[in-house]
Every structure is written in C-alpha cells, then in structure tokens.
Amino acid sequence: MTKDDLISRLKTIVAPYVQDEEAFKSLTEDTDFVKDLKINSANLVDIILDIEDEFDIRLENEDMEQMLDVKSAMTIVTAKLKE
C-alpha cells in the first residue's frame, strides 16, 4: 500500500467526524485530529474502532494514546499491518 493509498483510506474513515471541512480539504500528514479537524475528542475511540475494522487490525490503549494526528495513525497502522 502506498502512502497516498493509506492517507486516502484514513481520510475516508475520519470524514464523518470532522467538524472543520476546510482543514479536512487540505489534510496532510501533519494534520492533527482534534486541533485541526476539530474532531470531538470523545470520537477518537470511534475512529480507532473504524480503523480496526477497515484494516482488520487490533489497536491497544497505548496505540490509541499516540494516535492524535494523521502521521502517527499512519505509523501505527503500517506497523500493525507488518505484524
């Protein structure tokens, strides 16, 4: 899976939770879920579950704590897929 593929799949997952559509349009690896996309922090757990379903992986509490922006999500998902 290329980086672009991964970003695009993550983008589809976070789309329903995004409260700032402008920031979402210009999403990059550095985009922060809460600070930039204004996602309600309570919804981060829903995003985790959606990522688990999409990639058929399991994310632990420690993974979740780190998964605050696009880049960390990509790192963690990529690592899990290699396990």
């Binding site: 329903p16 939770y17 309570a42 919804n43 757990v45």
Partner: protein, 424 residues
C-alpha cells in the same frame, strides 16, 4: 409577586401524528395510532399491539447530523429531540449550533429509561468480552438525562438542564417543575416535556405483569379502551411531547404567540399508604393532589370545563373517575367533560404526561373536544358516577376556558395541572 406563566411553543411526536398539525388533525378526527407489531408476536408477547410514531430517515436527517446518527439507537431521545426542537421553533426561536448561549432558558425533560435498545446492544458486546468496542455514545444514549444532554446542546440552553423521572407522571411533573421555576423568577423560559422509548425491551416488563391487553391483537385500533366496560388493560405507546413555558412578561415583550396560561399545579405521593401500593393509587392522595392544584390555581372546581384524565383502560379507570367526582364535588350532569387521549395513542408511559398536556393545550387553544374512542360501551360504574354526555365519543366544538390535566404513576405518585385559555 409570583410571575404568571404562559405556553408559547408546542412540539409532539405521537403514535397517531408527528408534528403539531398532524397530531391536531388526528385528535380532531379521532385517529388511532395503534398498530400490530410482529416483533412482539415473535417474542411471544401476550399484547402484540402498540403505538409507535412514524419517523422517516428523511425527517431524522432534518433534526440530527450524520455524525449524531452514527450508532444511534435510542428511540426516546430521537422522539424527545424532535418534539423539543419543534416546540422551540414553534415558540419563535432558531435552532442553530452556533446560537448564543441562553442563560435565561432552562430545560426539564423527563424519561423513564433511556436507550434501552442501545443498552441491549452494549450488553451483548460487553458479555462477549468486547467492552473496548462499545464506541463513544453508549453512556450518552443510555443515561437517563441523555435526552436533556442532546437537546440542550442543540439549542444552547444555559439555565438549569435536567431530567426528571416519576413513571407515568413524568411529563406532567416536568411541566409543573418548569412552571415553578419561572413563577419563582429563576428563569424566563423552560423547555419542558418527556419522552419514552418504544419496543419489546421496554414493554416486556408490563406484559409480564399482565397489565397490557391481549384481547385485541387482531383489532389494534379497538385495543385502547379507557372507560369502557370491556377495557382489558392498556396498550403500550411511545413518543414525546414538549412545551415552551415562559413568563407572561417575557412572552409579551417579544410578541410571542400564546397558547394558554398555566394557572398552577400540584405534585404529591400517596406514600403507598391507605390503599396505595407500588402499582395502585392511594385515592385520598389523588384527591388531595387535584384539590391542591385547584387551590394553587386560584379557581373554583366548578370553573373546570374539561378534564384530560390519566385513564389508561385498566380497572383503575372507575376509581379515577370517582376520585375526580370527590375532589371536584361534581357528579352526574354537573361533571365536566372528560377525555382520555390514551384511547387514540395508547399509554405512552413516561411520555404520556407531556403528550397529553400538548393534547390538552391544542384542544383548549382550538376550542374543540377530541373524541374518546372505544368506549361506546361505558363501564356501568362510571355511568353511576357521571353522565354519559360528559364523555364525548365524537369531536365537538365547544367553549373551553379551563382544562385540568392529571397523570398518575407507579410508585403511587400524582401530578395535576390547570390550564386556562389566554385572552390578550
């Protein structure tokens, strides 16, 4: 000097009509909202009929965002938010997620239990060891105050925001509590109401108690028979009612439409003494509640034109009528008109009081009496107490100045409120 309180907005989600105009039409025409539910039959319920409001996906999307609807499975909150938003907009306010915070408006929105289907979903996952996969909204959808939490955020309400719960008196109690708060100057407006989930997981306990009718599974619309000789238990319903209460000065100041004035009310409990039990009313306390409500309203019992009773279609209907005759000291032909909205919508449980308060206000404002259906065969003991003409079976246009509404609930709790036609 206590403030006068008026009603400036109404919203309703009822089994026989969603929205004010559909519900008004159903009341005028005596349309039943009771239907057969296969899900109840499949689960071996004795009573397989019930009242469930019809809400399309399109309508849902007008009140909730896509995000709010993700994993959403709480019919009571759904009904409550629709009724609450409708009442708010009917009162002339905007629903806008960026609206300024309004510290002068409070919210008391009651329920019995919240999100029972969501709770069931969660329990299945949890017992399967999947607690981590419940998602973020189980708490919000299943906490009793879920409906208040959703609504206050949608509307930007900044005064007291809470949920009351007192079984089938819940909605009427919420109204009286909101009234008290405005009367005492603690808020200018209160959005009050109540809601109830639908479905087997809420209704099952009542079916087990054999208090719901099992005799009309083939004739659902004839099932809810308050005051009838052949009443054989209530028909479960669901939905929500909502009312915007406002101080008279605030309503006049902003030129709001005024439906009626809330004259006063009373809430009490029979304490499960003197014949009262967890499920049966203490008659003395019921009469006291009605009398006190009349006293608090500054009127005489003879001024009451119409009663909207609790009248569920159980053997307790006779006792309720007897309690009214004693509390008002009026019987036979001198008794006011009385109607039971439950003949049309069933017993909407925690939502009943609010939906029936809305029904009372609609009849008062539009000056008509909704028909009592399914009581052509009045209970003989009721005819011994009051004249049959006090129980209209057809829609009638009449002059109504004062309506008394009462609700009673499990736990031996009572609430009674008096509404007066508002003349500017």
């Amino acid at each position: 000097m206590k403030k006068r309180v008026v009603i400036t907005g109404l919203g309703v989600v009822a089994p026989n009509g969603v929205g004010l105009s559909a519900f008004t039409k159903a009341l005028k025409e005596g349309t039943s909202g009771i239907t057969f539910h296969k899900a109840l039959k499949d689960l071996n319920f004795s009573c397989q009929i019930g009242g469930v409001p019809k809400i399309s996906e399109v309508l849902k999307a007008q009140y909730f965002t896509e995000l709010q609807l993700r994993g959403f499975n709480s019919s009571g909150i759904l009904y409550g938010c629709i009724a609450g938003i409708d009442a708010w907009e009917d009162a002339g306010f905007q629903t806008d997620s960026d609206s300024p915070l309004d510290y002068d408006t409070g919210l008391i929105f009651g329920t019995g239990t919240s999100g029972v289907e969501k709770f069931r979903e969660a329990i299945y996952k949890l017992d399967d060891g999947q607690v981590r996969r419940l998602g973020s909204t189980v708490v919000l959808q299943t906490m009793a105050s879920g409906v208040s939490a959703y609504l206050s955020g949608m509307l930007g309400i900044g005064n007291q925001v809470t949920t009351n719960s007192s079984a089938c008196t819940t909605g009427t109690e919420a109204l009286i509590m909101g009234f008290d708060r405005i009367q005492n100057g603690k808020s200018k407006r209160m959005l009050v109401g109540s809601c109830s989930d639908h479905g087997p997981y809420l209704w099952g306990g009542f079916d087990a108690m054999r208090v719901m009718t099992y005799k009309h599974n083939d004739s659902p619309e004839a099932g809810s028979r308050p005051m009838s000789a052949t009443a054989s238990g209530f028909v479960p319903g669901s939905g929500a009612g909502a009312l915007v209460l406002e101080s008279l000065e605030s309503a006049l100041e902003r030129g709001a439409k005024i439906y009626a004035e809330v004259l006063g009310g009373e809430i009490n409990s029979g304490g499960q003494r003197h014949g009262g039990t967890l499920t049966a009313p203490n008659a003395e306390a019921v009469q006291r509640c009605i009398k006190k409500a009349i006293d608090n309203s500054g009127i005489e019992p003879k001024e009451i034109d119409v009663i909207n009773g609790h009248l569920t279609a159980t053997s307790k209907d006779v006792l309720e009528i007897e309690n009214w005759t004693k509390a008002l000291d009026r019987k036979g032909e001198a008794f006011p008109y009385i109607n039971s909205t439950k003949s049309l919508i069933g017993h909407c449980l925690a939502a009943a009081g609010a939906i029936e308060c809305v029904a009372s206000i609609i009849q008062l404002k539009s000056q008509f009496l909704a028909p009592n259906i399914n009581c052509e065969d009045l209970h003989p003991e009721i005819i011994n107490l009051i004249h049959a003409e006090c129980i209209p079976t057809r829609s009638q246009e009449i002059n109504i100045d004062i309506v008394a509404k009462a609700s009673f609930g499990f736990g031996d709790v009572n609430a009674c409120v008096l509404f007066k036609r508002f003349k500017a």
